[in-house]
C-alpha cells in the first residue's frame, strides 16, 4: 500500500475581506439576451445549462433584449420602478426610525428590490408566497398599505399582529403573504405543502417559496425539493443569492458546486438563474415558473443573483467582515438605476419625472409614517394590550391560560 500524506481540512474563503481589493473577475456574467427561453414543458435535462448561466434582459445601454424581454408593458414598468423606489424609501425611513429607538429591529432590502417587486407581478392575487424577512417588496407591489406595515414595525395598537411579532415579520393572507417565521428555511417546505393542498383540492392557485443563499443549507430546503419533485407540486422555489449570510459568504453554503440553482438537478427540477437586479428578467422568469406550475408541470427552482448592499439587519455592521468597496464593485449594478435607465432609454421616463416620483413617494411614506406614529411606536403611545398576549394561542382559550391571564391581572 502506498504511503499516504496527512489530510487537511479545506475551509472556503471569500475573494475579499476588509482591507482587500474587491474582485469579481471570477464571476462570469453572460450578456443580456444570451440565454434561450425554452418552452415551459422543456425536459430539465435539456436545459441543464440554465443553472450555470444567468438570464438577463437589460443590457449595459439599458435596452431590453433577447427572448425573455417583453413580458411587461411600459406602464407596468413605471409602476415597477415606483414599487422599488417606495421600498427603498420605506427602508431608509424605517432604518432611521429604528436608530431613533422607535422600534427594536429592522431589516432592509437595499440592492435587492427588484426580486420580490417583480416576482409579485407575475403571480395572481390569490396565489400564496412563503417569504423570508427580505421580501417586503411582495407586499408593496401587492398594494398592502404602508401604514399597516409600519404599525407592525412599531408594534402599536393598530399592529395587525397585535404586537406579538418582531418588526417586519408581517403576515397577510389577503395579500398572499404567509406569516414570516424567524426560523430560517421552515417556510420553504410549507410552500410545497400549500401547493400540494391546492393540487389535492383541484384548485388553480400556486405557491412561491423563498429562501436565502445561506439558508439553503437548512434541512427544510432538502425536504422541499424532495416533496416538490415527488408530487410535482405547483410551486416556484426561489433562492435569493445575495452573496452573504450575515458575515458568511455564499461559498460556505454552496461548497464545491457552481451555483445554488444546480441543487435542483439532483431532483429533476428545472432550475434557472436570473439576474436579480434586472426587474424585467425577474418578471419574465417568474412568469415562466408560474405558467409551469399552473399548467401542472410542477416546481421550478430559481436562483436570483443579487447583492445585499446593506447590513444584514439593524443589528449588523458589515464593515467587520467584508470590504466596504465590495458593494460598489458588484457587477450587476443597482436594480432601480437599471430600470430607470431603461425607461429613459425607451422614452417612458425622464430625470425630472424621477425626481418628482422620488418626492411624491417620500411624501407618501412620510404621511404613512406620521399616521403610524400618531398611533404609537414601540413602548410609546397606544400599545397592544398585555391581555392580548394571552389571546390567540388557541382558538379557544384553555383554562390554564385563563388562570394565567387573571393572575397577570387582565
Amino acid at each position: 500500500m502506498t504511503t499516504t500524506l496527512p489530510l487537511s481540512l479545506s475551509v472556503p474563503e471569500p475573494g475579499c475581506r476588509p482591507g482587500d481589493e474587491p474582485d469579481f473577475s471570477d464571476f462570469v456574467i453572460p450578456k443580456a439576451g444570451e440565454v434561450e427561453r425554452p418552452p415551459i414543458d422543456a425536459d430539465p435535462n435539456d436545459i441543464r445549462d440554465m443553472a450555470f448561466s444567468i438570464i438577463r434582459v437589460l443590457n449595459a445601454k439599458g435596452e431590453a433584449v433577447g427572448p425573455w424581454s417583453g413580458t411587461l408593458s411600459s406602464e407596468e414598468l413605471v409602476v415597477g420602478l415606483q414599487h422599488m423606489m417606495t421600498l427603498r424609501i420605506f427602508d431608509a425611513r424605517m432604518m432611521n426610525a429604528q436608530r431613533q429607538g422607535k422600534t427594536s429591529f429592522y431589516i432592509q432590502h437595499l440592492g435587492e428590490e427588484a426580486i420580490a417587486c417583480a416576482f409579485r407581478k407575475a403571480l395572481r392575487d390569490d396565489d400564496m408566497n412563503f417569504p423570508t424577512y427580505r421580501q417586503a417588496g411582495l407586499l408593496i407591489a401587492g398594494g398592502y398599505p404602508l401604514t399597516e406595515m409600519m404599525n407592525q414595525i412599531y408594534s402599536n395598537s393598530q399592529d395587525p399582529l397585535h404586537g406579538r411579532q418582531l418588526p417586519i415579520m408581517y403576515s397577510s393572507k389577503e395579500h398572499g403573504f404567509f406569516s414570516i417565521s424567524g426560523n430560517l428555511g421552515t417556510q420553504f417546505m410549507q410552500a410545497v405543502g400549500w401547493a400540494m393542498a391546492s393540487a389535492i383540492s383541484g384548485d388553480t392557485r400556486i405557491a412561491a417559496g423563498w429562501i436565502g443563499d445561506g439558508s439553503t443549507a437548512e434541512s427544510d430546503f432538502h425536504a422541499a425539493l424532495v416533496f416538490a419533485s415527488t408530487y410535482k407540486a405547483p410551486v416556484a422555489l426561489n433562492i435569493v443569492n445575495n452573496q452573504w449570510a450575515i458575515s458568511t459568504f455564499q461559498g460556505i453554503a454552496r461548497g464545491g458546486v457552481g451555483t445554488f440553482a444546480a441543487r435542483g438537478h439532483g431532483f429533476g427540477i428545472p432550475s434557472v438563474r436570473v439576474d436579480g437586479n434586472d426587474y424585467l428578467a425577474v418578471h419574465a422568469v417568474a412568469q415562466w415558473a408560474s405558467e409551469r406550475a399552473r399548467a401542472g408541470l410542477g416546481p421550478t427552482l430559481i436562483e436570483h443573483v443579487t447583492y445585499r448592499a446593506g447590513g444584514h439587519s439593524s443589528s449588523d455592521d458589515p464593515s467587520a467582515y467584508r470590504a466596504k468597496e465590495e458593494g460598489a464593485a458588484w457587477p450587476l449594478g443597482d436594480p432601480i438605476d437599471r430600470l430607470k435607465k431603461h425607461l429613459i432609454a425607451i422614452g417612458e421616463w425622464t430625470e425630472e419625472k424621477h425626481t418628482a416620483a422620488q418626492e411624491e413617494i417620500t411624501e407618501a411614506v412620510i404621511t404613512a409614517q406620521k399616521e403610524a406614529e400618531s398611533i404609537g411606536t414601540l413602548g410609546a403611545g397606544k400599545m397592544p394590550s398585555p391581555r392580548d398576549m394571552f389571546e390567540g394561542v388557541y382558538e379557544t382559550m384553555p383554562p390554564h391560560l385563563v388562570r394565567q391571564r387573571q393572575e397577570a391581572g387582565y
Binding site: S171, V192, M196, A197, F227, G392, V393, H400
Partner: protein, 337 residues
C-alpha cells in the same frame, strides 16, 4: 356498536372523518398503499383515492412541514409519524411553526393539523421504538396533547382532534393496540374484543378534548395515569387492595385540573405514573399542579413512578418499565405515610 381493537377504532375514526369532510387528508411513511406499519390507515387509499391518502418520502420534517402548509391552505391533514421516537427531525416544524402559526399571525393563518404517533414501550422495541415524548409537546404553547387508552376513546378523541382548529399531538400507546396490557408481560393480553371499552359506537361521535375519565372511583389515593399506565395502575390497585381513584387523563394539555383537584382533595394522596424518563417528565408538571392546587389537602408527599433516567433499554425492558410491582410498592409506602 362494533367490537374493535384500538387499531380498528383509529382506522374507523379516519374513515368517518374522511367521509364527512373532504378537507381531511391522510399521509405519512407507509401510510398509503400498505396502510401503515401498524395498519391504522389500511383501506383508506383504496376508498378515498391516492390524493387523499398517500405514502410520503422518509422525512418527518417534510411530512409535518407539508402538513403545516396544507393546514394553512385550509385542509385538515392527519399525519402519521411511524414511531414517536422518530418525531425529533420534525420538532422545529412542530414547535416553531405549527404551534405558533395562529398566534404569530394573529389568526390570519391557522393550523388544524393532527400528528399521530405510536408511543411507549412494552414491545421489546429498544431505544427507538419505545419512547414517550409527551413532556416535550406539553411544554410548547399552542399544541394540544392527547393520549387515549382504549378503542372507544381513541375513536372519539381522534375525531375531536381532527375537528379541532389547532394542532393536536395524538399519542397512541402501541402496547394497547390489540388489547389492554396490565404490565405483567409474562401473562397473555386480554384482546379488546373481550373488553367493554372495545365496544365502539358506529359512525360519528366525538370525545371532548381536555376531559379526564375516572376509571375507578376510590377514596384513599388518587392515581394520575394515561395510556398503558392506566392498566398498570388497575392491576396494582387490585393487588394492593387499596381504595384508589384512577384517573385516565386522556388529554394532557389542556389538562382537566378540575377532575384531578376534586379527587386529590378527597383522597389526600396522589400518585403520578408514566413511562417516560423521570426528570422533567410530564409527571413533574402533574405533581406541580397538584401541589399548587391541593397543598393543604395533602396527607403525604405526592409520588412519581416513572421510567428511569436512562435511554430505553432492550434486554432490561421489564426493569425499566414502570410495572405493577413498582406501583404497588409506591402505594404501600404512601398509605403508610
Amino acid at each position: 356498536m362494533t367490537q374493535m381493537t384500538m387499531i380498528e377504532a383509529i382506522r374507523d375514526a379516519h374513515d368517518v372523518a374522511m367521509g364527512r369532510d373532504e378537507r381531511v387528508v391522510v399521509f405519512g411513511e407507509d401510510v398509503g398503499y400498505f396502510g401503515g406499519v401498524f395498519r391504522c390507515t389500511a383501506g383508506l387509499q383504496t376508498k378515498y383515492g391516492k390524493t387523499r391518502c398517500f405514502d410520503t418520502p422518509i422525512s418527518e420534517l417534510g411530512i409535518v412541514g407539508a402538513g403545516v402548509g396544507m393546514a394553512a391552505y385550509g385542509l385538515h391533514p392527519v399525519i402519521e409519524i411511524q414511531f414517536a421516537d422518530y418525531v425529533y427531525p420534525a420538532i422545529d416544524q412542530i414547535a416553531s411553526e405549527a404551534a405558533r402559526l395562529r398566534y404569530r399571525s394573529a389568526g390570519d393563518f391557522t393550523c388544524p393539523l393532527v400528528i399521530r404517533m405510536p408511543t411507549g414501550g412494552g414491545i421489546f422495541g429498544g431505544q427507538t421504538h419505545s419512547q414517550s415524548p409527551e413532556a416535550f409537546f406539553t411544554h410548547v404553547a399552542g399544541l394540544k396533547t392527547v393520549m387515549p387508552s382504549n378503542p372507544q376513546d381513541a375513536k372519539g378523541l381522534l375525531l375531536a382532534a381532527i375537528e379541532d382548529p389547532d394542532p393536536v399531538i395524538f399519542l397512541e400507546p402501541k402496547r394497547l393496540y390489540n388489547g389492554p396490557f396490565d404490565g405483567h408481560h409474562e401473562k397473555p393480553i386480554v384482546p379488546w374484543k373481550k373488553h367493554e371499552l372495545g365496544d365502539v359506537k358506529d359512525g360519528y361521535y366525538s370525545t371532548e378534548l381536555g376531559k379526564a375519565a375516572i376509571r375507578r372511583a376510590g377514596d384513599d389515593v388518587t392515581i394520575l395515569a394515561y395510556g398503558t399506565m392506566v392498566y398498570v395502575a388497575e392491576a396494582a390497585v387490585e393487588e394492593a387492595g387499596v381504595d384508589a381513584e384512577i384517573i385516565d387523563l386522556r388529554t394532557l394539555l389542556p389538562l382537566d385540573l378540575d377532575t384531578i383537584q376534586e379527587s386529590v382533595k378527597k383522597t389526600g394522596r396522589c400518585l403520578v405514573l408514566h413511562e417516560a424518563t423521570k426528570t422533567s417528565g410530564f409527571g413533574a408538571e402533574l405533581m406541580s399542579q397538584v401541589q399548587e392546587s391541593c397543598f393543604y389537602h395533602l396527607e403525604a408527599p405526592i409520588v412519581r413512578v416513572t421510567g428511569w433516567d436512562t435511554p430505553y433499554p432492550h434486554a432490561q425492558e421489564w426493569d425499566y418499565f414502570p410495572g405493577p410491582g413498582r406501583v404497588l410498592d409506591a402505594l404501600h409506602q404512601m398509605m403508610e405515610s
